[in-house]
């Protein structure tokens, strides 16, 4: 089943110095339960595309449909994860996790119970009355994910969600997030500049061209293994083949 459909998206920026075409004619769709990544050279409009899909930005051309409905403005069906965890330091972990529900005025006993259930399942329940500064970087990122999941979105958008973490934490957190998303059976779309990260997590990878960004290619990533985890993928023999293919397509010049 198709969760997200992006058709004919184009985006032009207006600035004092003139007009910039950031994206042009982008078409793709994401299936239920799929993990898809978007990679592309820096400045190709990856994050702009994600903002458009989230409803934060209006596209100049084209439409976004989510579960068959046209997107206009921010939809509660979409969860968005940013580069930093953005936990509010004046709120306890529990209050931080309930933030999205509070904004959407959905603080019902059932929803609170669901958020607490997520905290318990993912080992943060005993920290619920602590403040963000008392948690490690990995735990903070997990709390941010739970904050997004608490509103029960159909689709998750990850905007360079791990690039603020140091490398070791990042490997652990990607494994963590991947497992959680698969367990909750969430559809996800991730923007990243990190090719290995996208290969290790994705079912499909969309490669964008340099500006104005258009779809260059979409790769299906499959690994010959029983229980796929990002960390295990990294040491798999097919990993380098995928890396070289995508690297060549990105056409990076220094």
């Amino acid at each position: 089943m198709e969760v997200l459909k992006v058709s004919g998206i184009g985006e032009k920026y207006q600035s004092q110095n003139g007009e910039v075409t950031a994206l042009s004619n982008i078409n793709f769709s994401v299936e239920q339960g799929e993990f898809m990544s978007i990679v592309g050279p820096s400045g190709c409009g990856k994050s702009t595309l994600l903002s458009i899909i989230a409803g934060l930005l209006k596209p100049t051309e084209g439409t976004i449909t989510l579960n068959g409905k046209l997107v206009s403005g921010v939809s509660p069906q979409v969860g968005y994860m940013l580069q930093r965890d953005n936990l509010l330091e004046w709120r306890t972990i529990l209050k931080n996790i309930l933030f999205g529900l509070e904004i959407q005025k959905k603080l019902t006993p059932e929803n609170i119970a669901y958020a607490e259930h997520l905290l318990k399942t993912y080992g943060l329940y005993e920290f619920k009355d602590k403040y963000p500064s008392q948690l490690s970087g990995g735990m903070r990122q997990r709390a941010a994910l739970i904050r997004t999941l608490a509103t029960n979105p159909d689709m998750l958008l990850l905007d360079e969600a791990f690039s603020a973490l140091d490398f070791q934490t990042r490997l652990a957190v990607t494994d963590d997030v991947y497992t959680i998303l698969k367990k909750e059976n969430k559809t996800a779309l991730m923007v990243t500049h990190d090719i290995p990260e996208s290969i290790s997590m994705s079912d499909r990878i969309l490669v964008l061209t340099r500006r104005p960004g258009t779809v260059r290619n979409i790769h299906t990533i499959t690994f010959d293994m029983e229980q796929r985890t990002p960390l295990a993928c990294r040491s798999h023999i097919q990993f380098n083949t995928y890396f070289n293919t995508i690297w060549n397509e990105l056409d990076v010049h220094v």
Binding site: L56, V74, P76, V78, R84, N86, L88, W90, E102, I103
Partner: protein, 270 residues
């Protein structure tokens, strides 16, 4: 994270001891300088090296203020503190309110910018005569003076804080569909409690400046009045004593704001 173990190692003991010694040394010299200064002042007066009529003397000041209730000094302190607090609260509340309006509307903020710049650089004491004519020579004129001095600074300080709120926090709230009102009450304002208290700390001092300046111009009571009166009748003991009391009052009010900040931000982070 840094739990002290049951048995403290020798190196740790030495480190803690050094830390304590360092602090004690600083405190000792802070007190010593004050004591030395007062002693030299007093002795120089006693031995006739300085003219105590012009420079006064600690013992004479003490004598002037020996009986606090008799010469009504408590009442004077009360008047000044009252005027300062009213000016301070009004300045903080009105200033924050105006900053919210300017944060909310980019248009109003752009239009008012040159006016704010001029008002900010204008020495507000120059408005003294105008204020007296408009609101009358009395307590209200003094309060308006305190307000005039502290208001614009508060507006600019708070607005600057609101504008430099973490962009990512705001984006995070927007991804949940937050309205502008929600963004303000749940992200911008709570994220600027530190800015608020910084501006309160500046404000309490500025309000006191305004009150003293106002008292110089119009009052019949208050520390500013005592200073002017003392100067006019050449009672330097009264002037010096009032200045000393004023500095103590100023320090205490500042400390009160610091305590309030600690109580409010107790949870924040650590």
């Amino acid at each position: 994270m840094y739990n002290e173990p049951q048995t403290i190692s020798k190196e740790r003991q030495l480190y803690l001891k050094r830390q304590k010694r360092g602090k004690q040394k600083v405190l000792f010299w802070q007190i010593a300088i004050l004591v030395l200064f007062l002693a030299v002042w007093e002795i120089a007066g006693q031995l006739g090296w300085i003219d105590t009529f012009i420079l006064s003397q600690p013992s004479r000041i003490l004598h002037t203020y020996a009986n606090l209730t008799q010469n009504g000094i408590l009442e004077h302190i009360g008047v000044t503190v009252y005027e300062t607090l009213v000016g301070f609260v009004l300045g903080a509340a009105l200033g924050t309110l105006l900053a919210i309006v300017l944060w909310w509307s980019g248009f109003i903020s752009k239009v008012s910018e040159p006016y704010l710049v001029v008002l900010n650089s204008l020495p507000k004491i120059a408005l003294g005569p105008v204020i007296i004519i408009w609101v009358g020579a009395g307590t209200s004129a003094i309060i308006v003076m305190a307000l005039a001095i502290s208001l614009i600074v508060t507006v600019l300080e708070m607005l600057n804080g609101f504008r430099s709120t973490n962009r990512e926090h705001i984006k995070m709230a927007r991804t949940f569909g937050a309205s502008k009102h929600q963004i303000f009450t749940k992200i911008v304002f709570p994220g600027n409690i530190k800015t608020l208290f910084n501006s309160l700390k500046i404000n309490i001092g500025l309000s006191l400046v305004g009150v003293i300046a106002g008292e110089f111009l119009v009052s019949k009571a208050g520390l500013g009045y005592l200073i002017v009166y003392g100067g006019q009748v050449f009672k330097l003991d009264l002037v010096m004593g009032s200045v000393i009391i004023l500095s103590v009052v100023a320090a205490l009010m500042y400390e009160a704001v610091v305590l309030l900040e600690k109580a409010v931000t107790r949870h924040y982070g650590r």
